[in-house]
């Protein structure tokens, strides 16, 4: 029995279908990231789970309980909001104990829980400060502490890092990951940042236009994207897509011809054997390429080079089509060069040109 279960969940706002028949299951202790571009319905889905948005179709189960018709407060979920939603007139301690005061939890227990949560999140020294006297990272820790003391079944995060600067975002991400490893609390986390999804999730739910595109571990999504959208949304710089024609070969593999390439792809690159010729797009990630020692697959005319320190991202054109390849920083490539590249074909993803679905 899975810990969180969504069955046929749909939600419309007027004529706009925000969520269309969502089915999703997550195990206890999972860190589920709802990933997708803005407007894909991921925040709406999160609010449906909290109960803050009502009137939807389908069923929601949390920890074996059907919560579909329950009030938000009875669902045993806690949420960290994008804005943190701290109460500006209350001290850190009062913010953390707000829910317990509402429930008339005895003072001694309240104080004990606040102290515990504050220690877990290094807030002990600032319990008497107001939110306006805290930094962005500290405010977020208060928001998390407020969730901790409620001992919820499910933690929900709505784009919690988007208001932080780059350095703090990284630090907080690490903290969140450590916190999750320590508490093993089941977490649903909404973000549009693929980097956050990749680094935090045990399970990524990629969404688009109110539908789930793909569910899997971060590496599954990265290595075997279900369609062209999944392939291009995850990974930076973006995957290189080359149109061409695929013809079946004897051993279950296939031959790809296009953009000056004529490649024999192994059978492992396909979900099902290729039986008839088909127009496709060949997807190759920048890091699948390397400087060719023998006969190159392609030859890139370099437009510009982005050194990241560890590597070089070489941006150029193959037959007029933008192509990026990650090369070793010692490769000494300069704009204007013609660089011979060979690709690791076992990493290739092939998508049907029309439908965009992975073959």
């Amino acid at each position: 029995m899975s810990f969180l279960k969504l069955e046929n969940v749909s939600k419309s706002f007027g004529n706009f279908k925000a969520l269309d028949n969502i089915n999703l299951e997550a195990e206890a202790g999972a860190f589920v990231v709802l990933l997708g571009p803005s407007g894909c319905g991921k925040s709406t889905l999160l609010r449906l789970i909290t109960g803050l948005t009502e009137d939807h179709e389908g069923e929601i189960h949390i920890a074996g309980r059907r919560v579909t018709d329950l009030d938000p407060k009875d669902r045993k979920v806690a949420m960290v909001f994008q804005s943190y939603a701290l109460y500006p007139h209350l001290s850190v301690a009062k913010n953390i104990s707000f829910g317990m005061e509402i429930k008339r939890v005895p003072r001694a227990e309240r104080d004990r829980k606040v102290t515990e949560a504050a220690r877990a999140l290094q807030l002990d020294t600032m319990l008497h400060r107001l939110p306006s006297q805290l930094s962005g990272g500290q405010r977020q820790r208060v928001a998390i502490a407020r969730c901790l003391v409620r001992e919820p079944d499910l933690f929900l995060f709505d784009e919690p890092l988007s208001n932080l600067d780059a350095k703090l975002r990284h630090e907080t991400r690490v903290e969140l990951k450590q916190l999750h490893q320590r508490l093993k609390a089941t977490t649903i986390y909404v973000t549009h940042d693929q980097h956050e999804a990749m680094t935090l999730a045990t399970q990524v739910v990629l969404m688009k236009d109110g539908e789930i595109v793909q569910v899997g571990t971060p590496l599954e999504l990265y290595n075997r994207p279900a369609n062209r959208f999944a392939a291009t949304f995850i990974g930076f710089p973006q995957i290189n897509l080359t149109p061409g024609r695929l013809t079946p070969e004897a051993n279950g593999g296939a031959r790809f011809a296009g953009a000056g390439m004529d490649l024999l792809l192994p059978a492992t690159a396909f979900g099902a054997p290729v039986t008839a010729p088909v127009e496709v797009e060949l997807g190759l990630r920048p890091e699948s390429g390397s400087l060719a020692s023998g006969t190159p697959h392609q030859s890139i005319t370099v437009d510009y080079v982005e050194p990241t320190g560890a590597d070089l991202y070489v941006n150029g054109k193959v037959e007029g089509r933008d192509t990026v390849v990650r090369l070793d920083r010692s490769s000494g490539v300069a704009p204007g060069d013609k660089v011979p590249v060979q690709w690791r074909l076992s990493d290739a993803s092939i998508f049907d040109l029309k439908s965009g679905v992975r073959l």
């Binding site: 909290t50 803050l52 938000p72 407060k73 979920v77 806690a78 949420m79 909001f81 994008q82 804005s83 943190y84 939603a85 701290l86 109460y87 500006p88 007139h89 209350l90 707000f98 829910g99 509402i102 429930k103 107001l130 306006s132 407020r146 409620r150």
Partner: protein, 300 residues
């Protein structure tokens, strides 16, 4: 002829300030000083040559010989009570309007109309409403029988001040509503969502989130009400002509100065009112200074 940059900067400042500072002196400071001066004379509103300096006599009179004039200040309490009712109602309505229910904009406009209405028109509307043959008595007759008739505006009776205070509530409610509504809109919905998840009901959300956030705005409005109820003038003047029991301190001041030609006494009354208003504002500042000023939206 050229000036150096520093001189030019100073010249610019001087030229820009010349007009406003002149107006401030001629229209504000000079009349104020003159008011103070008149309050120490027995000026008769006409002949400066016959005005004599009388020291504190006008002020002493306000608490002895002219005590009846000063006692009209007690009638401000009717209006102060009215404005408390008004503030509670306005806050209540503002909270309801802030729920973004359909039609809230229309209701906000309807409640704001009396405030932007011309004072005379507003006074006439309420006088017609409260007259012996007015709408209120007509409505009351539906319940109390056809013979019911009540003189809501009998200026010989103290209770007519309640009628006038009600008129004042009707007229100024919209102002409180708009100010409070503005303060409410500054509270992010996220805070209410977070509170709902934590199990707070609407009443708890009001007292624990809404009220603490708007309390300085409410305090400011309360202080304005205190000052406003001391200065009540147009509502009784337009509805009962400020007669009898309905004469307020401000009405008496005008009567004393212009009808009874006792400008010295009237000026002393004005100074007395000014002193009270200043005390109220200093109190407000002392209360608010120690608190977070963001919440008032810079109003104080």
């Amino acid at each position: 002829m050229t000036f150096d940059a520093k001189f030019q900067r100073r010249l610019t400042i001087f030229v820009f300030l010349l007009l406003p500072v002149t107006m401030l002196i001629v229209l504000n400071i000079y009349p104020l000083l003159q008011l103070f001066w008149i309050s120490f004379t027995d000026f008769n509103s006409i002949n400066w040559a016959r005005a004599k300096f009388v020291g504190w006599r006008n002020y002493v009179d306000l608490f002895t010989f002219d005590r009846d004039l000063t006692l009209t200040m007690v009638r401000s309490l009717y209006y102060l009570a009215g404005s408390l009712v008004q503030l509670v109602l306005a806050t209540w309505f503002a909270v309801i309007l802030n729920q973004r229910l359909p039609g809230s904009r229309v209701f906000r406009t309807i409640l704001f109309i009396p405030f932007v209405l011309n004072a005379v028109a507003a006074g006439l509307i309420f006088r017609n409403f409260l007259e012996l043959n007015g709408a209120l008595n007509n409505i009351a007759q539906l319940f109390m029988g056809p013979d019911f008739k009540f003189a809501w505006l009998d200026s010989g009776q103290g209770y007519s001040n309640f009628s006038l205070a009600a008129a004042s509530v009707w007229r100024y409610l919209g102002f409180n509503l708009v100010v409070t509504f503005g303060a409410l809109q500054a509270i992010p919905q996220d805070q209410y969502d977070a509170a709902r998840l934590e199990g707070a009901n609407n009443w708890q959300m009001f007292w624990r989130i809404t009220f603490p956030t708007i309390k300085l705005v409410l305090l400011l409005q309360f202080m304005l009400s205190v000052v406003g109820s001391l200065e009540v003038f147009e509502v009784p003047l337009l509805i009962t002509r400020g007669a009898g029991e309905t004469a307020t301190f401000a009405i008496k001041m005008v009567e004393t100065g212009f009808q009874n030609r006792r400008a010295g006494t009237a000026a002393a009354m004005a100074v007395l009112m000014l002193v009270i208003v200043v005390i109220v504002f200093i109190t407000t500042r002392l209360i608010t200074r120690s608190r977070n000023r963001e919440n008032t939206g810079g109003l104080i």
